[in-house]
């Protein structure tokens, strides 16, 4: 597999580079593989490169869905 984690872009640098931040950890990465990234965006970081963007709205939807599944089961089991 490929170890990659979502991180927030906290600062834009020259040459397609940026600083990302995860819980107090900063790291410089390359934005060579993605266009139009802005400060505050979440990107998926792998071997020092942003591979793509993370869509916060979709992340929330997935979490809502997971919570809904989780709650349905509790209700079903309880009833």
């Amino acid at each position: 597999m490929c170890l990659a984690i979502p991180a927030r872009v906290s600062q834009m640098l020259d040459d397609d580079r940026a600083i990302i931040e995860i819980d107090g950890v900063q790291k410089e990465i390359s934005l060579a593989l993605v266009d139009d990234v802005a400060i505050g965006d979440f990107v998926i970081v792998h071997v020092g490169y942003a591979l793509g963007r993370l869509d916060p709205a979709e992340a929330e939807k997935t979490l809502e869905l997971l919570n809904a599944i989780s709650q349905t089961s509790s209700e079903t089991v309880a009833s």
Binding site: C2, L3, I22, D23, G24, V25, Q26, K27, G48
Partner: protein, 353 residues
Amino acid sequence: MSAPQVRTKREFGRPLNFKRGVIELSHGSGGRAMTQLIDELFAKSLANPWLEQGNDQACLELPAGRVAMTTDSYVISPLFFPGGDIGSLAVHGTINDIAMSGARPLHLSAGFIIEAGFPLSDLKQIVESMAHAARAAEVAVVTGDTKVVERGKADGVFINTTGIGVIPEGLHLSGDLAQPGDCILINGTIGDHGVAVMSERTELDFEVSVVSDSAALHDLVRVMVATAPQIRCLRDPTRGGVATTLNELARQSNVGMVIQEAAIPIRPEVSAVCELLGLDPLYVANEGKLIAVCPPQHAQSLVDAMKDHPLGRKSAVIGEVAADPHHFVRMQTAFGGSRVVDWLSSEQLPRIC
């Protein structure tokens, strides 16, 4: 007209240049240069009656009781890291190995192997840091040795320290005493030292404000054994981290262990670095942590006493000892499953997959 001043001949010509000077092979060859280094740096910084005698050995009078002795060699890159350096580490590490027997550490020796060309300024900083750590811990560096090797034959400086201490009457702690049902405690957050050191390694290229937890734990141990002399074992989870220490204790005591992931204190920054580099924090080194195993009825009072000590504010009960002929260390994950926490097959390396 004033009387002519009586001038004693300077013993060593010019004093050592701690700004721009470097270690030369002559500093380890037993001649005048070596004596000067010892006088102007080691004896001066580490000053105590034993060193002042200038003998090749320290003659010690020890209080009554069993004597605990340990030795450890320190090779670390980088030599300076947030929260300490090789000098303070060489004091803390050896004090802690003594303290894990319940002993009060008393005396240390220090052996330096220095690479020719090593800056005197760095050496001075390391020795002063060592002196500071020893003084704070009320432990004396009573004897020492310096060797210089050719450039390229060492990585800056290596330090060996040996320590002795005396165990209070009636106290018996050992890694083979853990029993099923006992509680497992830790005195704070895991992985701080390893992450602080990694943050200084330029090739990994990340920034974080975590500092090493490097600290002398004997005072915390003093409080702990006073609160609960029934403690079965203490061990400091240094290289190989908490996972390795638990596996060692399980094997030695012929038991298994079950720990709770959610109970293990960890800083968010340490989690994040581990996530970024693909490391498991359970295997990351600590230098100011201890694992304690004690009978369950004493766990609460012990953890309360630990929390009252500055080096134990985030103490927690993280699991318990179980009967298991296979000596597995298992972890209930915060996610709700379980897994083995195995021995490390070798040092963890940052990974991409």
